[in-house]
């Protein structure tokens, strides 16, 4: 494969050099567009041998971070990112792995190579529902055991979703639940590239509170659009004549 040739890998990130020597050894290794560190895409089945090579032969002794990105509508939907550090040269490297299955995302675990991966992979599983195969103890880490959702997936609303309390006994006795947070007043989100009325900051999907109930047909409404924008109003009957 033509590893790194003619690909804009940003100013002096070293992606090309790294790929030139690694490319022939790992099938399907592709450069990833980057402006800061050498970055490469890797196929899921090669992630363990690739990180092992980077650790043992290239001096990337530290796994600083494992995380994922949910690309929402796109497929592959989930990409797992690894950030490695070489403490001798103070160089970072970024490796990304696309999860082939959008509904049941899976990636081989690298805990056997880096002990740091144990918690980072647990967190990624907790937040995105990506399963790391062969992980010794893949449990939730920030949310509680038994929590039914994956909060950093894009479809999960910012306010949260009504859930049972972690302690079912307390939940039964008090009938209390984990409730979505009231969102009136923010946090705000802005959408650029839309008409000014639509780009004014507003709570993206939660403009209801204890006093303003959630619209019944909310799910049918399109994306972040609110029912009442300036356009909607101007499309109505002229108000002045009323």
């Amino acid at each position: 494969m033509s590893a790194g040739e003619g690909v804009d890998s940003g100013p002096a990130t070293g992606t090309g050099e790294l790929l030139d020597s690694l490319g022939p050894r790992f099938e399907g290794l592709e450069p990833r567009p980057t402006t800061d560190h050498p970055a490469t895409r890797c196929r899921a089945e090669f992630i363990r041998p690739l990180l092992k090579t980077l650790r043992d032969e290239y001096g990337y002794l530290m796994l600083m971070d494992v995380t994922a990105v949910d690309w929402d509508e796109e497929s592959p939907r989930f990409t797992v990112f690894y950030h490695l550090l070489n403490p001798k040269t103070a160089q970072y490297a970024r490796v990304s792995v696309d999860c082939l299955d959008d509904d049941e995302p899976e990636v081989p675990s690298v805990v056997s190579l880096f002990a740091a991966a144990e918690w980072h992979e647990r967190e990624t599983y907790d937040m995105f529902g990506i399963r790391f195969t062969d992980h010794p103890d893949l449990r939730r880490i920030l949310m509680w055991e038994g929590y039914p959702y994956f909060p950093l997936r894009k479809e999960f609303p910012l306010a949260g979703i009504e859930t049972e309390l972690p302690d079912s006994e307390v939940g039964e006795a008090t009938e209390a639940k984990v409730l979505p947070a009231p969102m009136m007043g923010g946090p705000f989100v802005a959408q650029s590239g839309q008409p000014m009325s639509a780009s004014e900051p507003r709570g993206r999907d939660e403009s209801w509170t204890e006093h303003h109930h959630r619209p019944e047909d909310f799910d049918a409404l399109e994306g972040p659009e609110q029912p009442e924008t300036l356009e909607d109003r101007s499309g109505d009957k002229p108000r002045i004549e009323d």
Binding site: L61, H83, A116, H120, L142, P151, F156, L158, P201
Partner: protein, 418 residues
């Protein structure tokens, strides 16, 4: 709701035989394991860390940290607001050094924007980062002494921290939640005479630091409790991704300020202290020396403080114009309006940036699809990695050593749980 349970005690005579049997079992050396829960609300856990431990007598055989009690969903919140709006949330990561978090976050986003800030802004940021380090290490040192039973050092370090917070208040308007940086600059220039007051603080601080460290460094009890306790090997430290003073105490010579200089750290002269044994005592010594080095760095920067603008003036799509211009000039008014409503216009891309914060390397991974809102913002809290090493190093220690080991790791749950 409360129900009274009746427990049948049966025939006391028969029970006496049972008890004797059990006692004999406990004394035969095989040992009976006992589970112990510490936290999440306990003074030695420095926040809301919970430890599930198995004890054999007084020896810990298994330790499992349970985190997440301070999880606020910062990363989700970041996806829902413009870049500048997220600055106050970074205060609440490592809440013992909010200024350093502000700086690291701003620099990560600026790297995404391809933005360079003027020298004066860099100097201001360097000064507040080092002051944050002093304030954080002072707390780390004080409560660490307290964990080991030495109360007095804590009083000294907290007095010094108060003086620092007065300086922060003058600079940012807040003592704790500073929110001082903006993408492309800082919120405001330093006040008149502030640098002199920082210098005056440093002059009186060094003698007090020496006095305070003498309370601990050669303290027989402190030595007995920390030397050889909680040893982390070099290999473990690297494998678990430990950073900052915890990594350097294990003998790894790595400091992002030296090895990957930012903010003009390459222009100042300072030493990086390295430990030899990786025990609790080394971690303490490294922090004390880092305090001295921070003073050294600060003196150099203050002596050569650059003039000029304190924000990236040419970054019109990112940094808000001056207040007086906004109310007098149409172009600046529109620019300000666009920035407030839509956020700074960022290019699409991926950036991972780490800076040497007091607790270790704080990293931000920003994924942008363009526009004013990050598509994904991952925060890499150094305390998260520092705590993940506990199941490895704690087993085999006495229960009373746990407080010392926790104190020596100097973690903060705000950035661990995020």
């Amino acid at each position: 709701m409360a129900e009274t349970k009746e427990i049948s005690v049966g025939d006391m005579g028969a029970r006496a035989g049972e008890l004797a049997e059990r006692r004999a079992e406990a004394n035969d050396g095989a040992g009976e394991e006992m589970g112990l829960n510490v936290g999440p609300s306990h003074p030695t856990t420095h926040g809301v860390l919970r430890l599930l431990m198995q004890l054999d007598g007084d020896t810990v055989t298994k330790c499992e940290p349970v985190i997440g009690y301070l999880h606020r969903g910062d990363e989700k919140i970041a996806e829902n607001m413009t870049y500048n709006q997220f600055v106050p949330y970074t205060d609440r990561l490592d809440y013992l050094s909010p200024l350093a978090n502000n700086v690291t976050y701003a620099m990560a986003v600026e790297q995404l924007a391809g933005l360079e800030v003027p020298p004066r802004c860099e100097a201001i940021r360097l000064i507040i980062s080092e002051l944050a380090r002093i304030s954080s290490h002072l707390l780390g040192m004080g409560v660490y002494g307290m964990d080991a039973g030495a109360w007095t050092a804590f009083m000294y370090t907290f007095t010094e921290r108060e003086k620092l917070y007065t300086l922060f208040e003058e600079l940012t308007g807040a003592r704790f939640t500073t929110s001082y940086t903006r993408i492309g600059g800082v919120a405001r220039d330093i006040p008149e005479g502030w640098l002199d007051r920082v210098s005056a603080f440093l002059d009186q601080f060094l003698p007090i630091l020496e006095e305070t460290q003498r309370l601990l460094t050669r303290n027989r009890i402190f030595l007995d409790r920390t030397e050889g306790v909680g040893v982390i090997t070099k290999e473990d430290a690297l494998a678990y991704g430990l950073t900052g003073a915890n990594l350097r105490a294990c003998g790894v010579d790595f400091d992002l300020r030296k090895d990957r200089p930012y903010l003009g750290y390459d222009r100042v002269d300072f030493d990086v202290p390295i430990g030899t044994r990786g025990d609790c005592y080394d971690r303490y010594l490294v922090r004390v020396e880092e305090l001295r080095q921070s003073v050294r760095i600060l003196r150099q920067v203050i002596a050569d403080f650059p003039d000029g603008p304190w924000y990236a003036e040419d970054a019109k799509e990112i940094f808000a114009p001056r207040k007086d211009k906004i109310v007098t000039s149409m172009e600046e008014l529109i620019q300000n309006f666009m920035l407030v409503t839509e956020g700074p216009r960022m290019p699409a891309g991926e950036v991972y940036f780490e800076a040497e914060n007091p607790k270790g390397a704080l990293g931000f991974f920003v994924v942008s699809k363009g526009g004013g809102v990050p598509y994904r913002l991952k925060i890499r809290g150094p305390s998260f990695s520092s705590l993940s090493v506990l199941p490895k190093i704690v087993p085999g220690h006495m229960l009373t050593d746990i407080t010392v080991i926790l104190g020596s790791l100097d973690f903060v749950l705000g950035e661990c749980d995020r």
